[in-house]
């Protein structure tokens, strides 16, 4: 019995290689980036969809079993996946993807983080000590993360280093051209006053020059109380913002409440790939983001 078990264990353990690098991406944007840079040399599994809040995910059995065979774990870091990823790493029994190993890649290490809290106190809500982790709303961050990811893939799979470098170059050039296009199209958004439902958009604001006048969630991670909403309403009447932004996966009640009382336009930002139907890859993600913001400026409620 015991011998049979060992034989089966050995067979199963030897099976997963298939010649490609197994990438476990925590969120859709890094899954897409890994696919752009890895091409047909990687097999990508994405742990969450664009309609799931990556902060609230549980260490589900399906995630643990997928992490078991991963060669490279691509995470955002900056405490975004803190609630579940460490548990998935430990339970996976996979030494390659443990923190500190070459198979563990944290995107937030390669970009400049904004909104680093001056005070670390949970009375401020669910603050992230390292800074705001929602770095994927600025396409320029994909250039930096992409370059680092290509290097990491080359380190793990030296035989295909040239492929990763070539894919990265092609992706970088395409993205740079697209960024120029988006920046031109988004020119009318510069200086536009906006409200946000969750402090999720500092990188988008920084990129397009949007001006945030307030956040419906007074404390990150906590639903706004009616008193806090009333305060936002008063502020909105005194200092009107053009639109209120919310990530696709967030509860719509607070922004709906505000929109019913003021003339503010609600804009659902795809936030990541799959957040809205038209955001299918990194390029259409920002096409959709810019388009929805422009629609919001025009006074068209996003669907």
């Amino acid at each position: 019995m015991k011998r049979h078990f060992l034989i089966i264990a050995a067979l199963l353990a030897a099976a997963p290689a298939w010649g490609t690098v197994n990438v476990f991406a925590t969120v859709p944007e890094w899954g897409a980036l890994a696919q752009e840079i890895g091409g047909d040399k990687v097999t990508v599994f994405t742990a969450t969809t664009g309609l799931q809040d990556p902060h609230r995910i549980q260490a589900k059995p399906s995630l643990i079993s997928r992490a078991r065979n991963a060669d490279l774990l691509v995470a955002t870091g900056a405490e975004l996946e803190l609630g579940w990823l460490p548990l998935v790493q430990r339970e996976s029994g996979n030494p390659r993807i443990q923190s500190g190993q070459a198979g563990y890649f944290e995107a937030a290490q390669y970009v400049v983080l904004l909104e680093k809290p001056a005070r670390l106190d949970r009375a401020e809500g669910d603050v992230h000590a390292a800074g705001n982790p929602h770095i994927q709303t600025d396409p320029r961050n994909f250039l930096k993360v992409g370059a680092a990811l290509a290097q990491r893939l080359a380190q793990l799979d030296a035989a295909n280093a040239a492929v990763y470098a070539a894919n990265e170059k092609r992706f970088r050039e395409r993205l740079q051209a697209a960024i120029a296009r988006w920046e031109k199209a988004a020119a009318p958004l510069r200086g536009a006053p906006i409200l946000v439902q969750h402090k999720a958009f500092p990188y988008l604001e920084n990129w397009l020059g949007l001006r945030e006048t307030g956040s419906l969630e007074a404390k990150p991670g906590m639903e706004p109380s009616s008193a806090q909403l009333a305060e936002i309403l008063a502020r909105q009447q005194a200092q009107p913002a053009r639109m209120v932004l919310r990530p696709a996966y967030q509860y719509d009640a607070p922004s709906r409440w505000l929109a019913e009382r003021t003339k503010i336009n609600r804009v659902i930002v795809p936030f990541t790939i799959g957040g809205t139907p038209e955001a299918k890859d990194i390029f259409s993600l920002f096409d959709a983001t810019v388009q929805r913001l422009l629609d919001g400026m025009q006074g068209r409620d996003a669907p």
């Binding site: 099976a15 309609l51 549980q58 260490a59 079993s65 065979n69 430990r90 996979n94 669910d126």
Partner: protein
């Protein structure tokens, strides 16, 4: 005249041709000049362009340098500033409750002084029953320290401070990080991986107390001092096999005489799990636990009305099955989610039962003992809007099939073992809780309790559970 005119004509001809020649050379000069200017401008433009490009490059480089500097700053900020930067993750759970019960849930209905009530029909665990005391009570405070020790090991230490000021080491274990091939080894003191709820700490429970099968069979959680080996199959379907050996320090094994070498108890378990579409996840499992309790004592009131100590020695074997199903729209539990959880256990104990080990009543005698009993619970918890959940749980134990040798042989009567008389304890519990953030929860719980044959109890709890420090793990 004619000659003059000819000369004049000639002169005129020369004269008339003169400006044409002059204009041609001017144009040429002009063209040359323009060409020169153009060339010069082109050169200057090219030079300017080059300078612009250089400047841009410099600016780009400067921006990149600035970014790098920022990154370096970020790194520097992250870099440990002192030796205590390696401090482990620390978290503290605070809990407390107000309980209002129709009956005193702790007092034994037989009225024997100082004796807490037990679940009817079950060989008791000999530990605190977990029944709620009335009025305000401090719950269990839990201090947890955990950190990676090195690239190969991780250590966890959990101290539980009971309201009566006793401190207990709830967990203290090391676990491997670098074994590979899906293997994980844990050693030290830990909660067994059998069932589903056994590994959960009380602050993670959806209800404020453990379900009846856990209270009756594991009193209320099975803990080991030993070793656990788990293996995760390299398949997309989650398949985990586990084995544990060691000294089961708690009920139903006994810890009292740690005199024997070797392995006193062991368990095996298997879990399978996966997703059903994007919205549902599930996990199912089977478990087996075997122990050899020796002199596991408990109190009862014999037929003469005397408080006596009895004890059991023999084999205790428990098998179980568990199922958990969780649903959230689009797999995003933030707004709404539902979870269903059910477990079933069956325990068989065979061995010897000793009556009145202290000789307080009719004198010490012993005889054979055999008992088998099953129990299950099923619960559903629904988060119907952010921060708010409601839940319902039904739990029950079957009436045990018991054969007591001392009674069958006529030495004693069934009345001498009132606690072992057949009864089917059952209970219904409803709860509602509010969690303003991931770190705090206030729960209202109502239970209709029929675990004692004499009385039906209605229990109302208000319970707070708060965590501070390191962010807890979202365990499935």
């Amino acid at each position: 005249m004619k000659r003059i005119s000819m000369a004049t004509l000639a002169a005129c001809g020369v004269l008339s041709s003169l400006p044409a020649t002059a204009a041609d050379s001017d144009l040429k000069a002009l063209r040359e000049e323009i060409a020169q200017m153009k060339q010069s401008y082109e050169q200057r433009i090219a030079a300017l362009e080059q300078r612009l490009a250089e400047t841009e490059n410099k600016a780009g480089a400067a921006a990149a340098t600035a970014d790098q500097a920022q990154l370096a700053l970020q790194e520097a900020a992250r870099a440990p500033a002192a030796v205590n930067a390696f401090n482990p993750e620390i978290s503290l759970i605070l809990s407390g409750r107000y309980t209002n019960t129709a009956q005193d849930a702790r007092q034994d209905p037989t009225g024997a002084a100082g004796r807490e009530r037990r679940i009817q029909g079950v060989l008791p665990s000999g530990m605190a029953s977990g029944a709620p005391a009335r009025s305000w009570n401090l719950g269990e405070s839990e201090l947890a320290l955990a950190a990676n020790i090195d690239p190969l090991f991780r250590g966890t230490f959990l101290l539980s401070i009971a309201p009566d000021d006793t401190v207990g080491v709830e967990e203290a274990h090391i676990q491997t990080l670098g074994l590979g091939q899906g293997f994980n080894v844990k050693a030290g003191r830990f909660f067994s991986g059998i069932g589903y709820a056994n590994e959960q700490h009380p602050h993670a429970w959806d209800f404020s107390d453990a379900a009846l099968p856990y209270q009756a069979f594991f009193g209320p959680q099975l803990g080991y001092d030993g070793v656990q080996l788990k293996w995760l199959a390299p398949t997309e379907l989650f398949l985990e096999l586990g084995a544990e050996v060691g000294r089961a320090r708690s009920f139903p094994a006994t810890d009292a005489n740690a005199k024997k070498n070797g392995l006193m108890s062991g368990s095996l378990f298997a879990h399978v799990g996966g997703d059903l579409g994007v919205s549902s996840s599930w996990r199912a499992g089977v478990s087996w636990f075997d122990a050899k309790p020796h002199d596991r004592g408990y109190d009862d009131v014999d037929g003469a009305g005397t408080l006596v100590s009895n004890s059991f020695s023999g084999t205790s074997r428990t098998v179980g099955a568990d199922l958990v199903w969780k649903w959230a729209p689009q797999g995003n539990p933030r707004q709404q989610n539902f979870s269903f959880q059910s477990e079933w256990f069956r325990r068989r104990e065979t061995g010897e039962l000793a009556y009145d080990t202290a000789g307080a009543s009719l004198g010490t005698t012993s005889g054979s003992f055999r008992s088998s009993q099953s129990g299950f619970y099923a619960q559903g918890v629904w988060q119907f809007m952010p921060q708010w959940r409601i839940g319902y749980r039904y739990d029950q134990l079957s009436a045990p099939a018991t054969a007591i040798g001392l009674v069958d042989s006529g030495v004693l009567t069934a009345a001498d073992f009132p606690l072992l008389q057949a009864y089917k304890p059952k209970r219904q519990t409803a709860m509602m809780d509010w969690s303003p953030s991931e770190f705090s929860r206030i729960r209202f719980q109502y239970a209709h309790d029929q675990t004692r044959p004499e009385v039906t109890d209605n229990q109302l709890w208000v319970h707070y559970i708060m965590s501070l420090g390191a962010h807890g793990a979202h365990k499935f």
